[in-house]
């Protein structure tokens, strides 16, 4: 009853590319998606950068009649699902819709809609409460939009747990497929960068250079990092049982082969300070650590997380540490809660193509983060297995093991 789970489609809406090809090219070139914030006034803040999406013509992805019912967050998610479905070659009309599911993660969902709704409520009282805004403001609106748009009737769930939201969505999807309870699950997540969210992060002192010295920017593992830059986007993976993928002769990018989940108890806004919990999550996911050649790090240019993750990688892999290529895609995208989906897409492409994108912005490694961080240029190397790390402040740590897909040996 244990099914193998494979990745057969990728859908990406990111600041460095829409769709797999453009995104991957920019990953390898080390293109930064981070620029001065557009669309709202940041002059009263000490920070002013963000990894915002380019203007997107959502009509390309979504039926016009449905587009009217969606807010921006909904459009971002539904478009990423469209791209993933197209990439996978799936024809949902030929599938049993009860065995196709959606498992998504978002940290703050339609935060912009929530605050538009609340502002008009404050301004105009109960008459200002707009029903159309309210129905798209709920966090699960994203998976509802997707299920309605594509007629997906199987499992339908939205997770919201800070920076591990999308990792959790993929972990749950993996389990359902492994048990054979679904044939296909579209899994991943996303978030949008909104003015209220920017305000909250700024007030909580998380943004670079809200605190600390030096210029603003993402510099994971760098000695001179000084906080994070917010980003946005969405990444969706088509996860499928191997049997189902083989039957329809699908292109297989990689295999999802393990999940580790742990919690640390350092504090409500603290990451796992000693790295033990992150190390345990990686060990649980990896099973056989000798297989792991690369890690997509959760490191987000904050001192606490960068150091905790570096300690964790040391603990989990010890003498193999120098052989393991570590890279943080957040260096190009910025940090956002539902980033796990896009980061997973990149990791799957790394396995498929044998290339690891660089960590950009980082120049001088923090001596406490002396890992084999791939800097400046992408690295060609064969990768057998790779871990995607997700670590949230407050202490949820999730690792997913992706492996290069190798068909089972033919018994003849």
């Amino acid at each position: 009853m244990n099914h193998r789970v494979v990745v057969t489609g990728l859908g990406i809406i990111s600041s460095i590319g829409i769709g797999r090809e453009e995104f991957w090219r920019h990953c390898l070139e080390g293109t930064s998606g981070i620029r001065p914030i557009r669309g709202f006034d940041v002059s009263s803040y000490r920070s002013r950068l963000g990894g915002q999406l380019p203007e997107i013509d959502f009509k390309v992805f979504i039926k016009p009649a449905n587009l009217r019912r969606m807010d921006r967050m909904g459009k971002i998610m539904v478009s990423a699902v469209r791209l993933a479905l197209d990439d996978s070659g799936l024809d949902l009309g030929r599938e049993d819709s009860n065995r196709v599911g959606l498992s998504l993660g978002t940290g703050c969902g339609s935060s912009d809609t929530v605050y538009q709704f609340y502002r008009s409520l404050l301004k105009d009282g109960p008459m200002g409460a707009a029903p159309l805004l309210f129905q798209t403001a709920v966090p699960n609106a994203i998976s509802s939009h997707c299920s309605i748009e594509y007629g997906i009737k199987g499992v339908n769930i939205t997770f919201s747990h800070k920076e591990t939201s999308a990792e959790m969505a993929m972990a749950y999807a993996y389990h359902l497929l492994k048990e054979g309870r679904m044939d296909i699950v579209l899994a991943g997540g996303g978030d949008e960068l909104s003015e209220p969210l920017y305000h909250v992060y700024s007030m909580l002192g998380a943004l670079s250079p809200g605190k600390g010295k030096g210029s603003e920017g993402m510099r994971p593992f760098d000695r001179n990092r000084n906080g994070l830059v917010l980003g946005e986007g969405s990444g969706i993976l088509v996860l499928e049982t191997l049997e189902h993928a083989e039957t329809r002769k699908a292109k297989i990018y990689a295999e999802l082969a393990g999940v580790g989940m742990t919690g640390s108890t350092s504090g409500v806004l603290r990451y796992d300070l000693d790295g033990k919990s992150i190390a345990d999550a990686m060990s649980l996911a990896a099973g056989e650590p000798a297989l792991v050649d690369a890690i997509s790090a959760a490191a987000n240019s904050t001192r606490d997380l960068d150091r905790a993750e570096a300690r964790a990688i040391k603990k989990a892999f010890w003498e193999r540490m120098p052989e393991i290529s570590v890279s943080s895609l957040k260096s190009m995208l910025g940090e956002f809660d539902g980033s796990g989906g896009i980061r997973a897409c990149a990791l799957v492409l790394s396995l498929y193509n044998g290339t690891i994108p660089p960590t950009i912005g980082t120049e001088l490694l923090d001596p406490d983060c002396n890992l084999n961080v791939i800097l400046r240029q992408s690295q060609k190397r064969p990768i057998r297995g790779a871990l995607l790390n997700g670590c949230s402040n407050g202490g949820s740590n999730i690792s997913l093991l992706f492996k290069r897909y190798v068909p089972a040996a033919n018994p003849c």
Binding site: R69, G107, G109, F134, K153, M168, G263, T265, D280
Partner: protein
């Protein structure tokens, strides 16, 4: 081989009782928790009622310093968690903290605090306190509970709103199946806030008098608040430490209507699918289901769709199964509704009493099942299901059974 999962502790905060024994007593007496809302200013609203939690005295539970950093949602969650944790005797029995985790469901989370912050911010009358923003994330209550218990196993939060704490129970069950934990804290917490109150009002889904599920006069829901926390435990772990076993968690289903952003699929097709999915997962034939804890929001459309879905699954027997709509008493607690109703369902099995649907007077020909009107009934319950449906057709169904070796 699937592991068996049992419930070994319950905790609750609700408008009709702030601990399990008060809650159960009120539930079988048919007490209505509806009152005028005090946590925010309801004077501009036509509808002023909600099932607000009262008499909790958070100062008795937390230090002043800690209270400043806890949202109302965090407080409910922590208080209900403490009750469940000690009822399961996990405060005394040694356990491997690496093998315990927390998965809660969230609705509006700490938005009540964030609303206060942005009210001050936009109105510019006074400088808002950034500590009100600490609970901006729906994950905050989950983290508080895990930190207090020192649990180092899996941790996450589901956000399917009206079905959140039912989906969270399903996901928590899987953490045990995946071998990642022996003990899981699950369920949910939610507090009243102006955004959801005005949002449901704007959709014309609220009743200004009382919540009357399945009654012809029903006009919608009464928003509620509270927390319902359950301790899920792998059977052998529970037996080994001689824990009190209240019921067995047999399985669950989660699926989508794929129909509309706010309306349920009218023929009950989505309801049918989720109940069938849950029973199949639990390995229970429909004949063994002895009671149903309904979603029963008392919105005109939900109650018809739910009734139709139940008939589609149970056929002629549907009319014999007592159905409870406890939202008539505790209100619709959104992110904690599924948790509170799961607590009620476990107690129904344990105590052999089915709680009533109150305010039931005028039958609706489109809702023609047996809703346990106004009076609880005694009944030996082998298997009970609890339904939760959310906006966007996010359906969940949980299956609990009497525990036997």
């Amino acid at each position: 081989m699937r592991k068996r999962v049992v419930i070994t502790g319950l905790g609750i905060v609700s408008a009709i009782g702030n601990n399990v024994s008060d809650f159960w007593k009120a539930l079988i007496e048919g007490k209505d928790g509806t009152k005028e809302i005090t946590v925010f200013d309801v004077s501009p609203y036509r509808t002023k009622i909600g099932a607000e939690v009262s008499g909790l005295n958070p100062e008795r539970h937390f230090t002043q310093k800690r209270l400043r950093r806890l949202s109302r949602c965090d407080q409910f969650g922590l208080i209900a968690f403490r009750e469940a944790w000690s009822a399961a005797r996990l405060n005394r029995d040694p356990m491997d903290k690496n093998r315990g985790g927390v998965i809660l469901g969230a609705g509006s989370g700490g938005i009540l605090s964030v609303e206060r912050y942005f009210r001050d911010f936009y109105q510019g009358l006074k400088k808002p306190s950034p500590s009100l923003l600490l609970s901006y994330s729906l994950a905050t209550t989950t983290d508080h509970i895990a930190l207090e218990a020192g649990l180092k196993g899996p941790r996450s939060t589901t956000a399917t709103v009206c079905s959140s704490s039912s989906t969270s129970l399903g996901v928590a069950y899987e953490m045990i199946q995946m071998g990642l934990a022996d003990v899981m804290v699950s369920g949910g917490s939610d507090s009243l806030c102006e955004v959801s109150f005005s949002g449901f009002s704007s959709l014309k889904l609220v009743d200004s008098e009382s919540c009357k599920p399945f009654d012809k006069r029903r006009q919608g829901l009464v928003i509620g608040e509270g927390a319902g926390i359950l301790i899920l435990e792998e059977l052998e772990h529970a037996v080994k430490r001689k824990a009190p076993i209240l019921a067995e968690f047999l399985g669950y289903g989660i699926c989508a209507d794929a129909y509309h952003l706010t309306s349920p699929e009218p023929n009950g097709e989505g309801v049918e699918r989720v109940i069938r999915m849950a029973l199949a997962h639990a390995g229970v034939p429909p004949e063994e289901v002895d009671t149903i804890n309904a979603h029963g929001t008392a919105t005109p459309f939900n109650d018809i769709a739910e009734t139709r879905g139940i008939k589609r699954v149970f056929g002629e027997r549907a009319g014999e199964i007592p159905i409870s709509g406890i939202k008539s008493m505790v209100g619709h607690c959104l992110g904690s509704a599924g948790g509170i109703e799961a607590v009620a369902t476990v107690l129904t099995i344990k105590n052999g009493t089915v709680p009533p649907t109150i305010h039931y007077e005028v039958p609706d020909p489109l809702c023609d099942l047996y809703y346990t009107p106004n009076q609880s009934i005694r009944k030996n319950v082998r298997v009970a299901i609890s339904n939760s449906f959310a906006f966007g057709g996010n359906n969940a169904c949980l299956v609990f059974g009497k525990y036997s070796e």
